[in-house]
């Protein structure tokens, strides 16, 4: 995918609209999913996706190929989201119903109901993380970027990404322990 993306990107840089169309077809689902999880509704996510690609075409001439096209695109999407958040200045946590409705679209559906409920609970806790950690989790886990790619997309060092992920996992583990303790007390 990376090689084909680079070839398409080179074609788009030379002004080939067909190549650019293929690039859009290749990445728009991932970018929309990323922005949808962060923004909280379809309309804003679609709008942010359009802005992301518009900025991509504007900046295509300055693309240095220091990172993969996918990473560079996620970096643009991240900045578009930050600009949007700065204007709105209000968080958009996803509702339980939304996570429930998304289960069908999971690439690897959960085997049991308990697993699905636990996963939804984890996703809600992720939304409770602070912005930096939440976006790091989104890019690394939800978008399947490597540590280095996440670091490049966020414009931080890889060690910072590791630190944020460790903090996020600690937080999620603590919350799960608390939940298990509450469940046991309820059973007793």
């Amino acid at each position: 995918m990376s090689d084909s993306a680079d070839i398409l990107c080179e074609r788009a840089r030379k002004g080939d609209v067909a190549g650019a169309s293929e690039l859009v077809a290749l990445f728009y689902q991932r970018i929309f999913a990323y922005l949808r999880r962060l923004s909280g509704n379809d309309e804003d996510a679609a709008d942010l996706t359009q802005k992301t690609f518009a900025r991509t075409w504007q900046s295509l001439g300055s693309y240095q190929k220091r990172s993969s096209f996918s990473t560079w695109l996620h970096g643009i999407a991240h900045h578009v989201y930050l600009d949007w958040r700065r204007k709105r200045s209000v968080g958009d946590a996803q509702s339980d119903e939304w996570w429930e409705s998304q289960s069908d679209h999971s690439p690897t559906p959960f085997e049991s109901t308990s697993e699905r409920e636990l996963a939804h609970q984890l996703y809600r806790w992720v939304d409770e993380l602070d912005d930096e950690k939440k976006q790091t989790v989104h890019l690394h886990y939800y978008q399947n970027l490597t540590l280095n790619e996440t670091a490049e997309a966020l414009g931080v060092a890889a060690s910072t990404v590791k630190y944020r992920l460790r903090e996020a996992l600690d937080f999620l583990r603590r919350r799960s322990v608390e939940m298990e303790a509450r469940t046991e007390r309820r059973v007793v």
Partner: protein
């Protein structure tokens, strides 16, 4: 819950699907910038950026090489100059000897020129001495000539003629001086008239302050009255003047009327201020209406 399980769940996070028409919208909004010029510029900039360290190093090395070449040239030039100076220094004692000889020759030449000058002066002095030696003989010759001329007889006729000439000149000078005196008297009278209602003075002494000295009232040929010429107006009296005054107050209106006359030279001061030298053999004085006029003896016509 273990971290691995948490991570597994996170990796399995559901992916929301994009709306149906979003892909077409995104593809329709593709606006690619004109890539070629920018790419060319960027390519040129990139190659410049890529080769800049090598270029900078090359330029630095070239500059160093040029500097080394220039300094080598200076070094060679200095060596050549040093050799020339050393060669020059080797001839220095010889040059000093030549210089000393040249100075000696110059001094000899100056001395020779001074001697020539002294010799010329000596010759000049010898000539002057010879001339001075001849002077006593010339003086003696002149003295002899002088004695011979002094002892030679003088003709009498020449002496008489010379004395007569000087006497005539003296008489002529005195006559002219007399005319000048009368002119000054006439001028004084006219000035006095201007200050006194157009009337002439009855006596010349009334207008004395218009005269510079009593000398003008004495004719130079009147030897008897010459002592009065040196008196001041304080002591001068009317009978001390040489001239005979016939002046009257109303004479200012009469042109030919006689104001004063010199009995020695027959010079007449008339009422119009003029002085006339009259030949007594041709004119004589006549009185008309109490005033005196000049008249031709033969024709009786008034003087003009």
């Amino acid at each position: 819950m273990k971290d691995t399980i948490i991570e597994e769940f996170l990796f399995k996070a559901p992916r929301p699907l994009a709306p149906a028409g979003l892909l077409k919208e995104l593809q329709a909004e593709i606006a690619l910038p004109s890539a070629k010029p920018a790419a060319k510029t960027r390519e040129w900039q990139n190659s410049l950026r890529r080769w800049f360290p090598a270029l900078a190093f090359g330029v630095l090395m070239l500059s160093c090489a040029v500097m080394i070449a220039v300094q080598a040239g200076w070094n060679t030039d200095l060596k050549v100059r040093n050799d020339v100076l050393r060669a020059t220094t080797a001839d220095l004692p010889k040059l000093r000897e030549q210089h000393a000889a040249l100075e000696q020759a110059q001094a000899n030449q100056d001395e020779l020129a001074q001697l020539r000058k002294d010799n010329d002066e000596l010759h000049q002095l010898q000539k002057e001495v010879a001339q001075l030696r001849n002077l006593p003989a010339q003086i003696q010759q002149l003295q002899n000539d002088n004695k011979r001329l002094a002892t030679a007889p003088v003709p009498n006729a020449n002496a008489s003629s010379s004395a007569q000439f000087f006497d005539d000149a003296q008489a002529q000078a005195e006559r002219i001086q007399c005319v000048n005196n009368l002119k000054q008297i006439g001028l004084a009278i006219r000035v006095w008239e201007g200050d006194n209602n157009d009337k002439y003075p009855t006596s010349i002494l009334l207008a004395s302050h218009e005269l510079s000295t009593t000398k003008v009232l004495v004719c130079p040929s009147d030897t008897a009255r010459q002592p009065f010429a040196t008196l001041g107006f304080e002591r001068f009296q009317e009978n001390m003047t040489s001239y005979k005054f016939t002046i009257q107050p109303d004479d200012a209106n009469l042109i030919n009327c006689i104001l004063a006359r010199c009995p020695i030279h027959h010079n007449y001061l008339l009422a119009d201020g003029s002085v006339q030298q009259v030949n007594p053999e041709k004119y004589h004085e006549v009185q008309k209406d109490g005033r005196w006029y000049l008249e031709n003896i033969q024709t009786g016509a008034p003087f003009r």
